[in-house]
């Protein structure tokens, strides 16, 4: 057991660190006080360029095979990269769904043609990907999705609707799950398509959230024609393929979340040190100290649990119990953190950006509201607990 980096890992870290020092966009870092949850919608163009610069520097697709544009490194380097980006408060990677989900899934299930066609443009951010899974009546119960794809010669014709599609406004491609056999049992009649978002019949309607922002979208399909060769992993095999994507998502989230939580916590401690409570600095208040210390502990625990999971991956084993707890723990801790950020502000918590009285330009108000979705998006906490209960602990299905 050794928590330290190896010499090679250290040198990779130094490489990242040096590059970030040189290349970090100041106009961004000056805004990021309360974590990386700046509304992304405002910044698509900027983030596209930022990813391109990361890519050119060799920092995108670290774990991907070299033949598909990656660097063939381990998850450890990926971990280091994310950690350094976090410490430097670097902007996030825009095409994260492509890099973390679409790319690996295509590499795992794609034809040789598909593997040559899509992955490189994902890394360079030439083509942005979104995920077409959830539907208005298929949330937690994903397999009950209703979007239909009907064979018509060399094409499939897609009709239906997706929802909670983040980044759809900017996306070029979608990982689409659609029903191709309505008579089969619900998990067996689904196909995974690579759908061109610029196809006729695709329309995107931004979905306004409680933040006021429209990060998510509804996507409607009206007789959208998808060429046969855009099926990934075989007709009616989409559930299997889609689940793989979700596994990658969980892995990727695990990396990202640890780092995001640490940034938010550092920002919160900073806020507390600047805040007065009953006339004294808030960090002198014993109750505030308890709450901040607990957040610190919980954030560290999350990191070490992640390190145990990564170690298993690095050793070529499948992560076990320690990997399944991350999402739940992160939600719980992050939502609590954001609640405490409000509490620290007292009546100031009401002030949104647009007044000089707002603390940190009102960014906390955005991150607080945004955090409410944490326990719903990417698998609700309830579903995660079912998964742990059934798959990890082996309890019977309900």
């Amino acid at each position: 057991m050794d928590f330290r980096l190896t010499r090679e890992q250290e040198s990779f870290r130094d490489e990242v660190r040096a590059w970030l020092r040189q290349n970090l966009p100041k106009e961004w870092t000056s805004r990021v006080i309360s974590g990386p949850d700046v509304p992304r919608v405002e910044a698509y163009k900027f983030l596209r360029e930022w990813q391109k610069r990361l890519f050119d520097a060799g920092f995108i697709g670290l774990t991907w095979p070299k033949e598909y544009g990656g660097r063939g490194l381990t998850f450890m380097e990926e971990f280091i990269l994310h950690e350094e980006m976090a410490l430097a408060k670097a902007p996030p990677v825009l095409n994260i769904l492509g890099i973390a989900m679409a790319g690996p899934t295509i590499i795992a299930y794609g034809t040789e043609e598909q593997k040559k066609r899509y992955p490189p443009k994902i890394l360079s951010c030439e083509e942005i990907w979104c995920q077409g899974y959830s539907e208005p009546n298929a949330g937690s119960d994903l397999a009950s999705l209703q979007t239909r794809a009907v064979r018509d010669g060399d094409h499939f014709v897609v009709n239906g609707q997706k929802v909670w599609t983040s980044i759809a406004q900017a996306a070029d491609w979608m990982m689409l799950l659609a029903r191709t056999d309505p008579d089969a049992p619900k998990h067996k009649g689904i196909t995974y398509f690579l759908l061109d978002m610029h196809s006729p019949g695709v329309s995107v309607r931004p979905l306004r959230q409680i933040t006021g922002d429209a990060e998510f979208n509804e996507v409607f399909f009206e007789n959208v024609r998808v060429p046969r060769e855009n099926v990934l992993g075989g007709v009616n095999n989409g559930w299997q393929v889609g689940i793989t994507t979700l596994m990658y998502e969980r892995l990727a989230l695990g990396f990202g979340l640890q780092v995001r939580l640490r940034i938010a916590l550092d920002a919160l401690v900073g806020l507390a040190k600047r805040t007065k409570k009953n006339g004294d600095v808030a960090t002198r208040d014993p109750i505030v100290r308890q709450k901040l210390a607990q957040l610190w502990i919980d954030t560290e625990a999350f990191k070490y649990t992640g390190a145990r999971a990564i170690t298993k991956l690095l050793r070529g084993e499948m992560p076990g119990a320690e990997a399944s707890t991350g999402k739940i723990w992160w939600c719980e801790t992050h939502q609590r953190l954001q609640d405490i950020a409000m509490e620290l502000q007292g009546p100031y918590h009401q002030l949104m950006g647009g007044t000089d009285w707002a603390l940190d330009q009102g960014l906390w108000q955005y991150t607080f509201l945004r955090s409410r979705a944490n326990s719903v998006e990417g698998g609700t906490t309830e579903i995660q607990k079912n998964i742990i209960g059934e798959r990890v602990l082996g309890l019977p299905k309900g």
């Binding site: 119960d141 009401q350 707002a358 009102g362 409410r372 906490t381």
Partner: protein
């Protein structure tokens, strides 16, 4: 002992619920979000006609002369409707301050107007220091030339931008304790040197303002009650307004529970209504426990405010501590159990969620009030 509402109170509840369903549906609330005033003259006039703007003022001042328990019923229904507008600021904060500390002529003039919907008065006591105790009041009032000159900044002032006058808490002396040396002044909103800025708030149904006073001159008649003794009446106003706020919060929490229960009955996942899963069912039960306790402790406080005045600070703090936590938890559970739909702007949940958050920190959060309880029970 009879710890329930009277028939008249149940009738008031039924009337109010129907009124707000008709006059204050969420479409109306949403219109008011971006409306700077946060209310329409028409709606305000209707409240006046119902007698609700003067519900708890004596009849001599144009009021209906009902008690705090009656008000509780009405506030619950207003909370259920996330009613926008300056009811809280004008009827409770400004109005109660006048009732507690105003001279006979001030009361006569202003409470009558408030009751009739002809004027609004708010209370300006909180400042950038964000405190809820007497030390909060640092705005200076200097005596001289037959009056006072007020200078300083008030923050988080409810609806100052639409008020006709403000009750301003100011420091007239630096006494031995922060409680000594506070005075209250009734200042017209259009006084020279008084500037009001509307602030952008998370809960857009409740408007907050910054109020800057630069050498604002008021006559001696503006002083409410005796000089330097303003803290006691102010504290009483705040305790009473806190109880009313708790009632409003209870109404909102009950509404969230109702919405969530209804949704859990019809939303299907894995072939069954989600409400049949214990993960949802037990959390809904937790919500009910919180809502019922919140009501109980609020009703008690409302009764105390009228009947056992010495116990009012303790009862108010117990209620605010409990209800602040309860409404936050219920609102969070409501969003969670609705899943994605609860996170959308078009669903009404967020109106309640934001009101819950705003109310949680108004007049002190649960931690503040627990410490106050600890003091009042002599820990």
């Amino acid at each position: 002992m009879d710890f329930g509402f009277s028939q008249e109170q149940e009738m008031l509840r039924a009337t109010a619920r129907k009124f707000f369903e008709n006059e204050c549906p969420s479409t109306f609330v949403r219109q008011m979000l971006d409306d700077p005033a946060g209310v329409t003259p028409d709606f305000w006039q209707k409240l006046a006609e119902q007698g609700w703007l003067g519900l708890i003022y004596p009849e001599a001042y144009g009021g209906v002369g009902l008690g705090f328990v009656d008000l509780t019923v009405l506030m619950e229904e207003m909370g259920r409707a996330v009613m926008p507008g300056p009811y809280f600021s004008s009827v409770l904060l400004g109005g109660l301050a006048l009732l507690e500390a105003g001279s006979e002529s001030q009361k006569k003039e202003w409470l009558t107007k408030i009751s009739a919907g002809a004027a609004k008065v708010t209370l300006a006591w909180t400042e950038p220091n964000a405190r809820w105790d007497a030390a909060a009041v640092t705005l200076q009032a200097r005596e001289g030339r037959g009056g006072f000159a007020l200078s300083g900044t008030k923050l988080f002032v409810h609806d100052a931008h639409t008020a006709d006058a403000l009750v301003v808490a100011a420091r007239t002396a630096n006494g031995a304790s922060p409680e000594a040396g506070v005075s209250l002044f009734l200042v017209p909103r259009d006084a020279r040197g008084l500037e009001v800025k509307l602030l952008p708030t998370m809960d857009q149904t409740r408007k907050l303002c910054e109020v800057t006073l630069k050498d604002v001159q008021v006559g001696a008649a503006a002083l409410m009650g005796e000089k330097n003794t303003g803290w006691q009446p102010l504290a009483r106003v705040v305790d009473r307004a806190t109880v009313a706020l708790c009632a409003e919060m209870c109404g909102g929490a009950q509404k969230i529970l109702d919405m969530t229960t209804e949704y859990a009955k019809i939303r299907v996942a894995f072939g069954k209504p989600i409400g049949s899963y214990q993960g949802v069912k037990h959390r809904a039960a937790d919500m009910l426990v919180d809502v019922e306790n919140a009501k109980s402790i609020t009703y008690y406080a409302a009764w105390v405010v009228d009947e056992q005045v010495a116990q009012a600070p303790l009862a108010a703090s117990m209620a605010k501590a409990y209800v602040s936590d309860a409404y936050r938890k219920v609102a969070a559970a409501g969003i969670q159990l609705h899943g994605g739909i609860g996170f959308t702007w078009e669903h009404d949940l967020h109106l309640y969620f934001k009101r819950a958050k705003g109310s949680e920190f108004t007049f002190g959060d649960a931690t503040y009030h627990r410490e106050r309880v600890a003091q009042l029970i002599n820990l």
